[in-house]
Symmetry: C2
Subunit: 430 residues, 2 copies
């Protein structure tokens, strides 16, 4: 038989213990902050019918990026590329039983066909945080405060990132009332704004001119007036006085009161997904080596209604694991990682049986023990302990068995102690 490849499937990643520790650290921050705000964890299937994404996720995500196949029962299914349709379906299925606002979060994996690049993998892990059944800006403020709190919990300073905020209602007002575009033109203009930072200003103006058609002269003037505004107060008067801007201002007031500092209003922020209906936001990394969107979210009030239940308002967001890892890495925020094992027991001489007993007793006291069961040479064992970043190594030979006093070494401090059982437990637990 020919040899099988030892490499992971294209675009996916093997998490060896040293990689998994970092992922677990990121997950632990996500769990902690989500729970601080009263969000409860849920879990969901890996597969959904493809049509769950066709409805509102947009052509790119549902059409080109999903891992989709026909199952043995003839159903067309997709490996979930995102969580929003799934959690909306779950809320729809228990529309009557759930208490509102329902605060829900999950940490799960997703798959998308993407060109592999920095921070983008075909299989990736995401936190999803969503609040259902709260209509006002208070819900949006809570999700954004939680996003800000996650960044702070990772050790970020307010200048390390910026939260850009816009509102789909304002975008719609801008396209229809301010620019005077029809539906098709408006869609094209939104897609152009979405690409704005990826193309040259010249290309942007050329394409905008095409979209405006007959009204290009007036239209381009309006575009310039808009892009010149650096704050809400600077906006052209007809936009500034719209109901949507009032809503955004109200949101900013709540956020400032909650201590969220890294805020910017960005009228060019669109967010690609079709299901957003109100506030949209993205958290950007300001570091020159990683100047990009880290994650985003927004209000999507219509999605639950697609699954046969009365519709319900919703606000959510979804930070990704690899993006977060890059952020804490470029900002030097990665905490020192250590093994989940507390102590390694090295067996010297003919003390296997007593070493086994000691390991059992330590485990009964809640100490996490790796026990030498192979009898490798001592220098090899010490190398293993250092490599795995296990904090302590304990030696047990015939003398230790007799005296019940063991030599235990703190690797990082390079300090040796001679202690009895109780002393060892105390040393490790502190």
């Amino acid at each position: 038989m020919s040899t099988l490849s030892s490499q992971p499937y294209k675009g996916t990643r093997d998490y060896y213990p040293e990689d998994k520790r970092i992922q677990n650290y990121i997950f632990s921050v996500w769990h902690k902050v989500s729970r601080l705000y009263g969000y409860e964890e849920y879990g969901a299937p890996t597969l959904e019918p493809l049509e769950a994404y066709m409805a509102k996720s947009g052509q790119e995500l549902a059409g080109e990026q999903t891992y989709t196949f026909t199952d043995r029962g003839g159903r067309i299914v997709a490996i979930r590329p995102e969580m929003t349709p799934t959690i909306s379906r779950m809320v729809a299925a228990r529309r009557q039983e759930l208490s509102y606002p329902a605060r829900l979060y999950s940490i799960a994996n997703f798959m998308r066909y993407e060109r592999p690049q920095r921070g983008r993998e075909r299989e990736f892990w995401q936190l999803n945080v969503d609040i259902f059944g709260a209509d006002g800006v208070a819900a949006e403020a809570e999700i954004l405060t939680l996003a800000d709190n996650i960044m702070k919990e990772f050790g970020a300073q307010p200048t390390d990132y910026v939260i850009r905020i816009n509102n789909r209602k304002l975008i719609n007002f801008m396209m229809a009332q301010y620019f005077g575009l029809d539906g098709v033109q408006g869609q094209a203009m939104m897609k152009l704004f979405d690409r704005k930072n990826k193309i040259s200003e010249q290309d942007f103006i050329i394409q905008a001119t095409e979209i405006f058609g007959d009204q290009a002269d007036d239209g381009i003037k309006k575009v310039h007036a808009l892009l010149a505004a650096t704050s809400m107060a600077d906006l052209p008067a007809e936009i500034r006085d719209s109901a949507a801007v009032t809503e955004i201002q109200e949101l900013f007031t709540l956020l400032e009161r909650a201590g969220v500092k890294s805020l910017v209003f960005d009228i060019t922020l669109m967010r690609g997904l079709d299901y957003y209906t109100g506030m949209v936001f993205e958290v950007f990394d300001t570091h020159p080596d990683n100047n990009r969107a880290l994650f985003g979210g927004g209000r999507y009030d219509g999605l639950v209604g697609l699954f046969g239940a009365e519709s319900i308002s919703a606000v959510g967001m979804a930070p990704g694991g690899t993006m977060m890892e890059n952020f804490i890495s470029v900002h030097n925020l990665m905490p020192k990682q250590r093994s989940t094992t507390d102590v390694y027991i090295a067996v010297l001489g003919d003390t296997v049986r007593e070493a086994g007993k000691l390991a059992r007793d330590l485990r009964d006291s809640g100490i996490r023990v790796e026990l030498d069961i192979v009898g490798h040479k001592l220098d090899k064992q010490i190398k293993t302990v250092v490599k795995k970043a296990i904090p302590y190594i304990l030696f047990i030979g015939e003398e230790e068995v007799k005296s019940e006093i063991y030599t235990i070494k703190d690797i990082a401090q390079s300090k040796e102690y001679k202690l009895n059982f109780a002393g060892i437990v105390e040393l490790i637990k502190e």
Copy 2:
């Protein structure tokens, strides 16, 4: 547009917070016990090339039960139906870099086409615990002790379950030397033994007679002699004196020394997977309402070698989440679940702003707070808190804002306290 179904994909499960809590409890026991033995967590891709399973997982698993499809690059892939080939591939990829014995575990989801039945779902969660690079019975004893420790950590008594142990080397000896069967006959007889508890004794004897062919008279006598044995000492002499039985006896000695009580030697235990090469085991539930195999494992020394690296010995096991849930449920071992939220803040009157400040201060002290941002009626809010099993509710009205003394109620104890900020933190943290 037509309405989408709100039901989960066939054979999969939605985990709402009350279901996810139970799963998280099971996962927490798995994490805890695996780490007590020095095993470190890893993560792995959801997809593998189908051929990873064709090699050694057996026809049923690789052929009939996998969710398989051709990806956009023309690769034939499978949603992993088990972890053993994946972790073997990962060890092969770092064959030189890893320290041995390598102790590794993961908690992950898998998919198999199965007829949905109690404890079987098409998507399921499993713990996988494996030790690589330890040849002797000490490694088998460690995995089995860990399995036993998991059962005890769930609160099981030694009579609630039984660990059945056999050895593939003994099975091979039995088929070739004792029964005198050739390779094809031996395979057929192993499959028959594997089905023994699922068919009548009569059917078993009829099918065994067919397999023995000419030697049926002698063969059936030997089968009866074998099945009559209730312990290793009872076995026909030529089996009892084989090297394989000596190895099993050595393993039993180590396990008894480690305090593992629920042990049985079972010469009919086969385990379906092709890759096992030595000790095999299954943990059975003894409860009459759930009398079935909970999980199993064994030694599989050849698998790493399939992925282009020098082979390395391995012992592992894989308990499943739903099986475990059924076990703790029929044995009444399910602990009382509570929300991950510590306190719910109910806002009375015009104190939204102060309630927000209080929530922030509590969160800064590590207290997990759900804050009323909608202003539902108080009775509705109390109902929510009880339903979600949040232990405390705190009321903040204008009087509380003035006095900075808050009323907080312990729901389970039905006790009310009037406390300042420090008092609340102390009450909740204890």
